[in-house]
């Protein structure tokens, strides 16, 4: 099964990289660029038949390894 995991840094946590990218865009003349946040998406093939079970397992993977629950939120989409 194909699973898509979106991992976003929580809005209240600073994102210095995003700030630097925004500055660079401005220098290149893209002055319309506002706040920039750098996040991640993980595409994963997961073996399994039951989407509900797969989702539960992947959420477990997120909590244990893929996401950092202290500063990030995650979303899992199966299929």
């Amino acid at each position: 099964m194909k699973v898509t995991i979106t991992i976003n840094r929580r809005p209240e946590i600073a994102d210095p990289e995003g700030t630097t990218v925004r500055r660079a865009l401005h220098e290149l003349g893209f002055i319309e660029a506002g706040e920039v946040r750098m996040d991640r998406v993980i595409h994963m093939e997961v073996e399994g038949d039951d989407p509900r079970q797969v989702e539960a397992r992947v959420e477990e993977m997120c909590r244990r390894l893929l996401a950092n629950p202290v500063i990030e939120d995650f979303e899992v989409e199966v299929g």
Partner: protein
């Protein structure tokens, strides 16, 4: 003797080391700021290691737009020696002056240790003073040292003995077709004093200095 320009981007950190090593060899080097737009008084240019623009986005991605890069490109096209070390290598790739790109090391960890490399091409500004097959021991110090080259055009100059980071063809240094633009991942300037473990890097810097047109 012609002077070497050592470019300082915000976030560069090896610039003083490069100047020091070049001076040990009798070279003359000046720091230039990434916003400088005139390098006409220099015979060659080094983009030193570090974390230009904090490596935001991709390493080297933002630095390639620095105003000084137009001059670096001009010098590259004129045949002057242009050397990118570590982060400088990454910038040269992003700028399209060297083929390929640098991605994260195979094992996803920063590697700081001595490595051995073998000279496989002596017709470049970095290896002019070296022998074919010569082994050189200098420190590697990078997280994104893994060169990939979908174009297949890259000219490998130095090859790792072993495979520390997954780099294609085990390339530790790569040149453009004319051999005057070279990117090297390990640091020649860190192998510039036996007291620090090796002076092999001087062979490479010697090649670079020799490649500058006489003033």
């Amino acid at each position: 003797m012609m002077k070497v320009a050592v470019v300082v981007f915000p976030g560069s950190n090896c610039e003083h080391d490069v100047v020091h090593a070049l001076e040990t060899m009798g070279g003359v080097a000046d720091l230039v700021w990434h916003r400088d737009t005139d390098l006409s008084e220099f015979g060659g240019v080094v983009l030193p290691g570090g974390f230009a623009h904090g490596d935001a986005l991709r390493t080297g991605a933002i630095a390639r737009f620095s105003p000084v890069m137009a001059e670096v490109t001009r010098m590259a096209e004129s045949g002057a020696p242009v050397l990118g070390i570590c982060n400088g290598f990454q910038i040269l790739c992003e700028a399209g002056l060297l083929p390929g790109a640098l991605i994260a090391n195979r094992d996803l960890s920063f590697i700081c240790r001595f490595v051995e490399v073998e000279v496989v091409d002596t017709e470049t500004i970095l290896t002019r003073a070296a022998r074919d097959g010569q082994r050189i021991r200098i420190p590697l110090n990078s997280y994104e040292g893994n060169w990939v080259d979908p174009s297949g055009e890259g000219r490998v100059v130095l090859r790792y003995i072993g495979d520390p980071n997954g780099s294609q063809h085990r390339a530790a240094a790569v040149a453009n077709q004319t051999g005057n633009v070279v990117g090297v991942m390990p640091h020649p300037e860190r192998g510039s004093d036996p007291l620090l473990g090796s002076a092999d890097g001087l062979i490479l810097l010697e090649g670079f200095l020799r490649s500058m047109a006489p003033a």
